[in-house]
């Protein structure tokens, strides 16, 4: 038994043959492990020795860790280590209480994600029901959505989009990885404003405003987050 154990440890040592492994992988590993935030390629490259192909190095590191308990993932063009998703059963963390969103909030989040940028009226149009201000507040509080501009229509309603925290929360590399996005686009159901059959715009969290958006004004953020009851929400729960 002891000899088998020793063999395994010796194997492990050999397995991690330091000679064959480029130093930059060690550096990347260390940086990404240590950081509390995902790091983008530029930030990583700055710390690498000259002449390192950071793209190749990251791909190599990702491949190395793919089968491990910790994986290298990309979120919104930033890199970070995360525990492997198949090990969630192991990771029950008593202390973390995951917030349970209401069904209304979940649907609203999905609509914003798939249709962004969208106004509250557009969201309500899809759900066929008015949305309480509280639901929007809860979503804003998660940090997964943000007001991004104002639609150039009468009333200049706020437009909402998702954030990087949203991608990070749902392990999405980019918005194009949204589940079922292709099917939704195929059925032509994605854009509420267009009859089916038209070409459908892809949801975009590109911070650049669209043609039909105006920038936010000072105070818009406070407004969007204010717990006040909106007069037009007709006092429904």
């Amino acid at each position: 038994m002891a000899s088998l154990a020793e063999k395994r440890i010796a194997d492990a040592k050999e397995h991690s043959d330091p000679q064959a492994r480029p130093e930059e992988l060690r550096l990347l590993e260390a940086l990404l492990f240590a950081s509390s935030e995902p790091l983008d390629q530029a930030a990583l490259a700055k710390r690498m020795p000259e002449g390192v192909d950071i793209k190749v190095a990251l791909a190599q590191l990702q491949a190395e860790y793919a089968s491990r308990g910790v994986n290298l993932v990309r979120i919104a063009n930033k890199w970070t280590f995360r525990t492997a998703s198949d090990l969630s059963w192991l990771m029950t963390r008593e202390s973390t209480e995951t917030r349970r969103l209401s069904r209304a909030a979940i649907e609203m989040l999905a609509i914003i994600a798939y249709h962004q940028p969208g106004t509250r009226a557009e969201i309500e149009e899809i759900r066929g029901v008015m949305t309480s201000k509280g639901t929007l507040d809860v979503l804003l509080e998660t940090g997964w959505i943000r007001p991004r501009g104002r639609r150039k229509t009468p009333g200049r309603p706020l437009t909402f989009g998702t954030t990087e925290a949203f991608l990070s929360q749902f392990s999405l590399e980019a918005l194009s990885d949204l589940p079922g996005l292709e099917e939704l686009r195929g059925t032509g159901l994605l854009d509420s404003r267009l009859p089916s059959g038209f070409s459908v715009p892809t949801p975009s969290d590109n911070p650049a405003l669209r043609d039909d958006e105006d920038p936010l004004e000072i105070g818009d953020l406070e407004l969007a987050l204010a717990p006040a009851v909106e007069p037009e929400s007709g006092g429904r729960s």
Partner: protein, 276 residues
């Protein structure tokens, strides 16, 4: 509103199987008329694209009727939808009258079917989204990130002017401070007078001014200032009539005593001179 459960018998359209259980509806559970319509449409168990809008309209209207029978309060949204569906139903049943304005009944039905499909699609999407591995639920970041130390490289600023000003001010200040300290070695007139007044009280007879003063002079360097100040103070006390001074000749020792109280007539009599 009490949590009334409405048992709802559907007037089942032909395409629905007869073994469909009766729908138990709690209207509170629905998020609006579209949500209710979608729930009803699912009972048709066909692709939403092939749904019978007419059958759906019937189901919905029956639901509303049943709800009103037991005086269930329905939000205005549900009633608006009911009115619209009743209108749609009548249009669908009547032979289509070609009309220039407005969408045809078929188009309206298709639009409703599309809305339902879209709601269904987004629900499906939101389920799939929620089932993705979520951060801090299924996958975890580094629990104990290491501190990335920030090394600050201070760039200090100072100009030659700052330097010279500081130096000059500092040196000058010190020079002045030194002068001030030297002043302390001077016996002021006030100090001398206070000392003399105390001396005069003690000495009843003629005393040598410098003998007393020696007691006060700690350092030889202070002798001159103590002597000068005492002399000046003594002269002042004489002028005030407190003290008498006597000197035999130039540069000989100075004697003093408290002026004895005497009648004015004696003023001119020669004083008793101190013994040599």
């Amino acid at each position: 509103m009490s949590a009334e459960i409405l048992s709802f018998e559907t007037g089942r359209p032909a395409e629905l199987s007869d073994d469909e259980p009766s729908l138990v509806v709690d209207v509170e559970g629905y998020e609006g008329p579209l949500d209710l319509l979608l729930a009803l449409a699912r009972q048709q168990k066909v692709d939403l694209a092939k749904i019978s809008i007419l059958a759906l309209a019937n189901q919905y209207l029956e639901f509303i009727e049943a709800a009103r029978k037991i005086r269930l309060e329905l939000a205005a949204d549900y009633l608006v939808m009911a009115a619209w569906l009743a209108f749609l139903k009548s249009r669908l049943l009547l032979p289509e009258i070609p009309s220039a304005d407005g969408p045809s009944a078929e188009e309206m039905a298709t639009a409703l079917a599309n809305r339902l499909r879209r709601l269904e699609a987004i629900r499906e999407a939101s389920n799939r989204l929620m089932n993705r591995p979520q951060l801090n639920r299924d996958i975890f970041p580094r629990g104990d990130p290491e501190i990335i130390a920030e090394i600050r490289h201070p760039r200090f600023t100072a100009t030659l002017f700052d330097l010279l000003t500081a130096y000059a001010a500092q040196r000058q200040q010190r020079v002045l401070a030194t002068v001030h300290l030297a002043k302390r070695t001077v016996w002021s007139l006030t100090e001398a007078r206070a000392a003399l007044e105390r001396l005069v009280g003690m000495a009843q007879d003629w005393s040598r001014l410098d003998q007393y003063l020696i007691n006060y002079v700690v350092e030889p360097s202070q002798k001159a200032t103590v002597f000068a100040s005492s002399f000046a103070a003594a002269l002042e006390l004489v002028r005030e009539g407190e003290l008498e001074l006597h000197q035999k000749e130039a540069f000989s020792p100075l004697y003093f005593r408290k002026r004895p109280p005497q009648p004015v007539s004696d003023a001119m009599t020669a004083p008793d001179l101190p013994a040599e």
